[in-house]
Amino acid sequence: MRTLWTILRKELLDAFRDRRMVLVAFVVMPLAIPLVLAGTNALGARKQSQQLEGQLQLPVIGAQHAPNLVAWLEAHNAKVLLPPADADAAVRSQEHDVVLRIDDGYADDWRAGRPAHVEMIFDSSRPLDSGMTVARARGLLDAYGETVGTLRLVARGVHPSVASPLQVAIRDVASPESRFDFSQQILPYLLLLLAFIGGMQLAIDSTAGERERQSLEPLLATPVARETIISAKILATAVFSLLSLAVTLLAYRLAFALVPSGGIDASFEVGSLGLAQLFLVILPIVLLGATVLTALAAFARSYREAQGYLPMLMFLPMIPTLVLMVAPVRTQLWMLAVPFLGQNQLILRVLRSERISALDWLVALGSAFGVVAIVWFIAARLYHREQLATSS
């Protein structure tokens, strides 16, 4: 136990004297990630409010056929523009989000009481760019149609409610925390990724690096069990990445406090209980990352080879997020037992202030720590290989 502490302390001292490592873990990561996220979020929020509240830019073909409709649109915060020569091409090239075409026979149909034809031209493959504008235009057209329809019914002595047999009311049970916005999609992945590979520098440096600098052989010649050595290195990696993660999260909160996000609260609000829960969820992933990295670095023949495995590892925490994006499913108990997927679910629940039962905790933590134990065992076995110290 004492030697474990000795090695752990030495590895951390060694790491904190490595300026590059400290710079990346405690300055670059905490600065870059929140700024990029907060920045894009603020940008997105600005665009959204522009599209929602700004004047709707609406080119109309054949505006002369329906002066009343055009006047009504302009009265409802739409700016009717002269149409482009080729409407399809203009939409395709994103010059306009949506173009309205009023049929030549509009006036005749209108007067005859037949449905008059109006055509909306837009590109549905760009829901993120133009979706909001298209929806606004459609909403205006629907509202105009409804208003006129109601007036026609009243003129014929029919109560307008006859044409509305159904009245649909909406009650959204989402709590403010559970509104699923951009940062909530990215936050679980970010937390898991940082937890998983935040200690990569230290893990590689303390294993593959130690071997490359030829200090492993003297270390192995001391009367210390190899299990103790590798456990201490794993713990040092875990402590380092937890510290880096804490600083990054702090910076994340600060960034969202400083960057105006246009009314959309993209930060996460968790109390001290939530923080404790997040810590508990992430802890096994930190240990798993430290163990996997250390095992890989012990397996790799060189520093460079160890670094070569990193892109593969970065992909791992991404998988559940991708799966959930494509096929969002209800949380089931077995999911909690899958590393990363389970943590992803739990992080979301913590952020939404949902209850997590004792069974959920048991399954998630039990399985994650079980995987850690298995990888630890493999790492310790790798550390017993003869080639470990001598293949240089």
């Binding site: 030495k10 004297r17 030829q214 003297p218 009367p223 110290a389």
Partner: protein, 248 residues
Amino acid sequence: MIRVEGLRKSFASQTGRVQAVDGVSFEAHDGQITGLLGPNGAGKTTTLRMLYTLMTPETGRVLVDDIDAAVEPMRVRARLGVLPDARGIYKRLTARENITYFGELQGLERGLIVQRTQRLVAALDMRDFIDRRAEGFSQGQRTKTAIARALVHDPGNVVLDEPTNGLDVMTTRALRTFLHGLREEGRCVLLSSHIMQEVAQLCDRIVVIAHGRVVAQGSPEELRAATGCATLEDAFVKVIGTDEGLFA
């Protein structure tokens, strides 16, 4: 006291298995300096690595103070002070921190480490750089730090793999005096070298290794008598069969 009996070790290579050590037996006694002499690639480093339990021999056994290294490797390592072929020291730690770290790994108390470090700093003349970070140390400073950290637990048996490798004349001379001091304290000193002159000057007993086998062993006088050569160098060349890989 170190006893090595019938050690064998082979490695896989692209052209099949190579028998690096092929039945090596020798003894190194307390209060003596024993030299393992042989050309590069004779199997000296592999023999020493089996001795300090970094490698497991295929056959044979290693006894340190009559403790079997295969049975109680931890106790054996605690009784050895090892300067391995790989001398890496931690560059971001000072020389003193390097030594202290190994003292703690050996389970020593802080006070004892301070005391021992002080003695080693004096004996190895490390005052100038003891509190400097090891980044940028000269070869001699690195070797001294590595020797000091290997001896901080005051081991009865000292194993040094090519201790004078890369050292300048002054440092080599100082190291020689230091090793004589270890002998006077009654320790068992075992070193390997491919430099005939060094072994001839320093060692009480010489074990000559070639192609993974012991080809001769004994005191310098015994070796000269057995080969009928006037000088020790001629005797070495005669028992090894060639002077290739050796250094005068």
